[in-house]
């Protein structure tokens, strides 16, 4: 296991398409790091550069104490789990798992024990003599994981490994993945566009957009202290309300605005709004224009004059509750600069 350092990676496709514009971050030994961002943000390219499947135009990759920017993938001591698993269809499951060891000339006996270990860890023992075509999606996914783990690589790279599973299986596998990596305590870099995966699995999240890092931090930091409006809106469903401060004041709220109101945006998470059917001190009255109940929670779209907010409350909201009284949580407000969209504190 080892630390991975990514230093100022730049990559351009063709003449002009800048995919990565100076990416730097670290994954410490044993850390599970997610690269999170919308599709086209460059996260997969970044992972492939770390793997050595593509080469950056400039910048450095360190794995352990070795600089590997120009090293081919097989000499980087990495393992990778591909989005479509990339199992060799003509080889048995056991051969798929053992391929990397065999090519590195491990003795037969060790290949066998390691393959068996990995298979046990992932519940694959009964399937070792089958071919990938005879496996279900979830089983293939586990074979792909086993193939990565059997090598005991310095770092495991995972490219949206859950995206081809159906919802139920995805949730279960997500939990298993977390337990597994906690058990082997391995360094992992995990690409995903799914915020829930990133939030639940990671020790650290790197949020990317348009080839630039938006924020690096723990899931808690990313969610509660977004550094700009992109991060604020990308995480959370429904996303954070972001409203120009003057509109807030106009509606009758009186939060403490840091600096000039016209230069500020207020961010507040839908679940943080204090909302009630009953009028109370300082609460502003809103019309409920849409009520979306999912059972465990209810999302309300509410309007007061030009100001529209979304609120997320656990539990129900009365069907005939056409008025909502809202006050802002003073300790949970995020402020952004209106022109730079960066957080200001």
């Amino acid at each position: 296991m080892a630390k991975v350092t990514v230093k100022d990676i730049r990559k351009t496709f063709g003449e002009t398409t800048k995919v990565l514009e100076g990416i730097s971050f670290e994954a410490n030994d044993g850390e599970f790091v997610s690269l999170l961002g919308p599709s086209g943000c460059g996260k997969t390219t970044l992972l492939r550069i770390i793997a050595g499947l593509e080469y950056a135009d400039s910048g450095e990759i360190h794995i352990g104490d070795k600089e590997v920017s120009k090293t081919p993938p097989k000499d980087r001591d990495i393992a990778m789990v591909f989005q479509n698993y990339a199992l060799y269809p003509h080889l048995l499951v056991s051969e798929n798992i053992g391929m990397g060891l065999k090519l590195r000339k491990y003795p037969e006996a060790e290949i066998k024990t390691r393959t068996d270990d990995a298979a046990r860890m992932l519940d694959l023992q009964p399937l070792l003599d089958r071919k990938p075509a005879a496996l279900s999606g979830g089983q293939r996914q586990r074979v792909a994981l086993a193939r990565a783990l059997v090598r005991r690589p310095k770092v495991t790279l995972l490219d949206e490994p859950l995206s081809n599973l159906d919802a139920v299986l995805r949730e279960r596998t997500r939990g298993e993945l977390k337990l597994l990596f906690r058990k082997i305590n391995g360094t992992a870099i995990y690409v995903t566009h799914d915020q829930v995966e990133a939030m639940t699995l990671s020790d650290k999240i790197v949020v990317l957009n348009k080839g630039r890092i938006q924020q690096v931090g723990t899931p808690h930091e990313i969610y509660h202290e977004p550094q700009n409006t992109f991060v604020a809106k990308f995480l959370g469903a429904p996303p954070m309300n972001i409203i120009p401060a003057p509109q807030i004041l106009e509606a009758g709220f009186s939060p403490e605005v840091p600096g000039e109101a016209k230069d500020r945006l207020l961010g507040v998470r839908p679940e943080d709004l204090n909302i009630s059917v009953d009028s109370s001190d300082g609460a502003i009255a809103f019309d409920v224009t849409l009520r979306e109940a999912t059972g465990a929670q209810t999302v309300l779209t509410i309007k007061a004059g030009a100001l529209e907010l979304r609120a997320n409350l656990s539990g129900d909201w009365p069907i005939n509750g056409l008025k909502a009284f809202v006050s802002l949580p003073a300790d949970k407000l995020c402020w952004f600069d209106a022109s730079t969209k960066e957080a200001c504190s």
Binding site: Y55, K70, T71, P72
Partner: protein, 277 residues
Amino acid sequence: MKDEGTQVWINWSFAVPALVLMGLVNVIPIGQAFYFADGFSALPLDTRLVSSLKNTFVFTLATVLIELVLGLAMAMVLLKPLPGRGWVRAAVLIPWALPTAIMAMAWQWIFNAEYGVMGDLLYKIGLVSSPQIAWLAKPGLAMAACVLADVWKTTPFMALLLMSGLANIPDELYEAAEIDGAGPFRQFCFITLPLLKPTIALAVIFRAIQSFGVFDLVWVLTGGGPGGKTQMIALYVYDTVYRYLDIGYGCTLTLVMAGCLALMSGVVLLVAGREEA
């Protein structure tokens, strides 16, 4: 990591043996044809060239049209779910897979003037008054025999091409048309034909080019006879070079042939392209 330039060379080297072979066999000879060609001034006066071009065009037009119609019918039948479809398809493939020259021998026997089974069959049905028909000795009949043999041989290929095109037309379109009240004939006209047009264009170009270069079938079946009435351009080239040993003029004729082919594919592409737009 090797630097990019070297890598590109290594990559190309995978393709080099193939490229060299094709260059040697397909490209250099065309260049050589230009080099060796002579006797251009004789072209306009060459009545044999004119008649063999005429024969080749007639043959090409007839075979491609008949094959298109029969091939389409065959494709539509073969696409239907049938018991033993694999065997039916294998049977259909056989004419395509058998050696043309050898099957030309078989046709020669079928069209034999005295003992041929074709004359006898037609006589038994009552279409002709005598079973002895000199198929290969009468100009019109000889050409018909060549066309028939080629149609037999190549319709399966046409059918295969069209089948793959037909299979790509979504079933929902037919179902929608049926709901709109179109019967089988109108479904064919309004859905099958328009959607199949690109495939048909491809198949027609391809078959026309092949047909225009016909050699072995005619050479074995009629030898270009009777009296040159089934003499095709390829047979003329062959005769010029191997019987009259005039390689220069042979090359010139080759170029004429290549020009005709380029012209034909151009016209078909143009027509197909205009219809698309």
